[in-house]
Amino acid sequence: MNPTKLSVKNITYYYDKFKALNNMSFNLEENQIMGLIGRNGSGKTTLLKVIAHQLLQSNGEIIIDQKNFIQSIDNHKQICLARETLGKTFEMTEVMKLKMIFDLAANLYEYWDRDYAQYLIKRFKLGTNKKYNKISKGMKTTVGIIIGLASRAPITLFDEPYVGLDPVSREIFYAELQKDYSQNPRTFIISSHLINELEGMFERVLIIDEGEIIIDSPIDALKDRYYLLQGRKASIESYRSHFKVMNTEIIGSLASYSIEGPLNEQIMRQMKTDEIDISMISLQKLLYYLTNGGENNEER
């Protein structure tokens, strides 16, 4: 498998007059799992579809392995977008059985692993003789998951790969994703709302809102930038000049502050001496505060 690097450069996309993506740029090194996080309508699916060349950007470039996606005739071999549905074309085709869909995928994806696909079909207990337009929503998501994993595409994109899935199937997916990633490292972008379930897998995170990137950072760097401080309100307030407050929750004399740092070692030691507990803010809370979801959003 060739090492792959994805560069998204100044991508803008319009739905008629509505700007869904606004001059978006980021780079993704090979063999990383990136979480794509944002609220409904923030542009996650649009971004993934632009990367997968299903939508055509108004401006900007998608570069894979230093090659422009549109100019290179064979770049599709590098990319697989797995969604909760394959779309109207498959929904409306009466005769499209799951077996045919997997055969189609086997022919079109360069690195398709037939044995692994068969293994996943059994693991998810999917009957391949069923017609695609007759199966449940969860099973359609499973079809997408199997295509995404078995494609072994150097850049695999999952768009909300849990829609309609029961908790057992979700756990199977997470386990298989981790196992496959450790055995066959490649680049994954996973858009998700179930942040708490997937947070542990992400090595990098891209938070977007209203078509713009708010955060593009390795997950470790976020730990050094955003904190949750819990302790006496007066104690925390005494360090007020060292950070920006994103959100506060006050119960009597105790307070919980969600802040943006960074905090240096010395300040953190002092805080601990003042009985202030310092922990990491969960991605879900971070998304909540950064997208103006918090009611007490003080400085944003």
Binding site: K49, A52, H53, Q54, L55, L56, F69, I70, S72, I73, D74, N75, H76, I79, C80, L81, L86, G87, K88, T89, F90, T93, V95, D103, L104, A105, N107, L108, Y109, E110
Partner: protein
Amino acid sequence: MKKDNSMKVMRTFFIQFMWSFMISFLVILFFNTVVPLFFTGFSEFDFKEFQITATFYCAILIYSMFVAFGAKCGSVYFDLFTIFSVSRNRIMRTINITNVILTISGSAILNLLLLMHDIPDRGLFLIMITLSIYLILNFLNFIAFLGKLFGWYYIVGTFVLLAAFILFAINYIGGFIQMGLFMTEIILFFTVAAAGFFYINNFILSKRYEYKN
């Protein structure tokens, strides 16, 4: 490295599509040739007549099958390839090769059928039929793209009007062909129109189409 399989996928689609047409062909043939024998008696069976009818229906069905498949290429199959992130250039290359194969096969079948009749200027007919099939396929791709880009209701309406115009004009065009008039002009028109649709499909419409579902 695996070689590109887009053509292989297209072949699979064609074979699936062909089966439904073949079944229709056999059913129609059965009703038009065998069923009447139940009323007139099987002693009336004339193999030569059966052969002519079977060949005639086969030619018509194959011709309609090619045309329908050509229309499906630009609409359904283009979408299917796009879902799997196949580049527009690769899809169009596959569709173009398919169009050429369908044209050559369609023209060969029709011209072989015409061998049963005494026709002057066979060469001219060969050229006309080949060009007309190629034009129809590119035109259908064009209509499919317009439908996908601007909405099917609008396009179906326009297409019906256009079809009415073609039916109106076909008597004249057919007459000209029969009498051997304006042959150069008609061939030139077919060539230019096919080239025009080819250009618009490959370099304008396919580059604008997005899979939004």
